[in-house]
């Protein structure tokens, strides 16, 4: 394990130069999930298993992750399925309880991923309004923000239809448009862009570049190497809930690819 403490990391950057002002600091983050088959725990089960053998139904999703991101950083998170990538993003977004460690952020990050569903039965337009309200958009800005989200999503008349009729690509477009409407300083993307069509991906990337050009930070999970190389300067490689390597994006992707080739 070659985890790097935040202080050393400053000297360890290559790719695009970034400022020295941190936007995300994750320290020794541990996350365990409780799993019992695919069924939820019942009261009976809880009473029955009180205080006996160590719990084998726990998955240690993150095991002491340290990560610091700075203004202007775009960090690719790579690793095999189930290595803890999505968990890391959710932990940074504050959407998940962590078992130990801490995450500090310059402002509340926005997480955009394929899991986001919003309200199925509500129309796209209504979802825009509800989403904006949840993000704390004030009434006087509501109309402008809603219009901007609608335009950016490019969904046109489909916005009048309930969201359950949307394809996954359309859902992703709407969600991305909402999540970035508040111009978050920290944007977390969990494979969300993959389902968008090429035209939308281009627009999304332009918007992300815009955020990064300011004082933003992107942390992105993806299995698309080209996309990662194009958008990111750094990369971390997660394996079994630990960062096993980190550095410049090209270097880490090469290492990762080499290890995968070795598996075959």
């Amino acid at each position: 394990m070659t985890s790097i403490s935040p202080d050393e990391e400053l000297t360890n950057l290559d790719g695009r130069p970034s400022s020295e002002r941190p936007t995300v600091i994750a320290r020794d983050v541990h996350v365990r999930y409780q799993v019992i088959g695919r069924r939820q725990r019942t009261l009976l089960h809880r009473i029955g298993s009180r205080g006996n053998q160590p719990d084998q139904s726990q998955i240690r999703a993150l095991r002491g992750v340290n990560l610091t991101a700075y203004e202007g950083d775009a960090i690719a998170v790579i690793g095999p399925n189930g290595s803890g990538k999505s968990t890391l993003l959710a932990a940074i977004a504050g959407l998940l309880p962590i078992n130990s460690g801490e995450v500090r952020v310059s402002e509340v990050p926005q997480l955009f991923g394929v899991g986001g569903r919003l309200l199925r039965d509500a129309s796209g337009k209504r979802n825009i309004r509800l989403g904006a309200l949840a993000l704390g958009v004030t009434p006087d800005r509501m109309e402008d923000v809603s219009r901007e989200i609608a335009e950016f999503s490019g969904l046109g008349e489909a916005l009048d239809r309930p969201m359950r009729t949307y394809s996954s690509g359309m859902r992703a477009r709407l969600h991305f448009s909402i999540a970035t409407s508040v111009r978050p300083q920290v944007l977390l993307i969990d494979e969300g862009l993959a389902v968008g069509d090429r035209r939308f991906r281009r627009r999304a990337e332009a918007r992300i570049a815009d955020l990064l050009g300011g004082t933003g930070t992107l942390i992105q999970v993806s299995h698309n190497d080209r996309e990662l190389k194009r958008m990111c300067n750094r990369a971390v490689w997660l394996s079994d809930g630990e960062i096993i390597s980190e550095g410049g994006v090209a270097e880490i992707l090469d290492q990762y690819e080499a290890s995968e080739a070795g598996d075959d």
């Binding site: 600091i25 504050g94 995450v103 997480l111 986001g116 199925r120 209504r126 949840a134």
Partner: protein, 278 residues
């Protein structure tokens, strides 16, 4: 390395900051019920008229069974108004708390996508039920008028009664939401609990009269007397009809309501980050 400017996102905000954040997003909790109103009855002929027809029908059913068949009115004047007040009041509590239990699951999509104070979800359930209750108050006004109940200064107390009642409902909704998120069994148990309480709160027959006719054991009698829902119903009936109220118990009911709200809020917040993960 210290970073005082950075927000510790893995820790819960202070209650003050949390309430502040709720206030900033308060419109979400009124927009959600409006949204529901828009989609809920889309597949029915009467549409949103059901919000009026539904309570009216249940008043008629209870009137037929308890007023006509069983003669359980025991000399209550204007039994239909008495019954309507009881049913509307009681069903607001029942559906607020049941709705609170189910609300987390229902809005999972929203919670997975966006970070906002989750307490807004139970609050939105309360708003939704208050909205229905406003319709029902209209019906009560009409029934009171047509049955010759004279207007009264007691009506001015109504907002205070609704406020205390709402504290109780919100506290219950918070508690049910948290419990149901850990044990889905809650949502199975609640209907039976509310069935029981419908009887011991005197929703469809004058409980006090029946209790004085029978010899209920002392402890049970005290429990029934202190039942906040019974007292809530009593207060509403006093407002609309001037029937008697147990004043000392009313103070207790107010205390229980505020206490339940505080406890419910605290308990709910302990699960803040877990909601919507399943």
């Amino acid at each position: 390395m210290s970073d005082p400017d950075l927000l510790l996102i893995t820790e819960q905000p202070s209650t003050r900051a949390y309430l502040r954040s709720m206030w900033d997003r308060r419109r979400l909790s009124t927009a959600l019920p409006m949204e529901e109103l828009r989609t809920e009855h889309k597949t029915t002929v009467l549409g949103n008229l059901w919000h009026l027809v539904n309570p009216l029908l249940s008043v008629l059913v209870y009137y037929f069974v308890f007023g006509t068949l069983l003669n359980a009115d025991r000399g209550v004047d204007n039994f239909i108004l008495w019954l309507a007040v009881g049913i509307f009041t009681y069903s607001m509590t029942a559906s607020s708390i049941t709705g609170g239990a189910k609300a987390i699951d229902k809005n999972r999509g929203l919670m997975r996508s966006l970070r906002f104070p989750r307490a807004l979800i139970p609050v939105s359930v309360i708003f939704s039920n208050l909205l229905t209750f406003m319709f029902e108050l209209l019906i009560l006004g009409v029934v009171a008028f047509t049955t010759g109940e004279p207007p009264s200064l007691r009506w001015l107390v109504l907002p205070a009664v609704v406020l205390v009642h709402t504290c109780f409902n919100l506290g219950g909704a918070f508690l049910a939401a948290r419990l149901n998120d850990s044990f889905r069994d809650i949502q199975q148990i609640l209907p039976f609990l509310f069935q029981l309480f419908r009887y011991v709160s005197g929703v469809m027959f004058p409980l006090e009269v029946f209790l004085s006719e029978s010899n209920t054991p002392g402890v049970l009698r005290v429990l029934i007397d202190a039942n906040p829902l019974r007292l809530m119903l009593q207060s509403y009936r006093w407002v609309f009809m001037g029937t008697p109220v147990d004043v000392p118990y009313l103070v207790l009911a107010g205390g229980i309501s505020v206490g339940l709200l505080i406890v419910g809020f605290i308990v709910f917040r302990q699960g803040e980050q877990r909601y919507g993960l399943r």
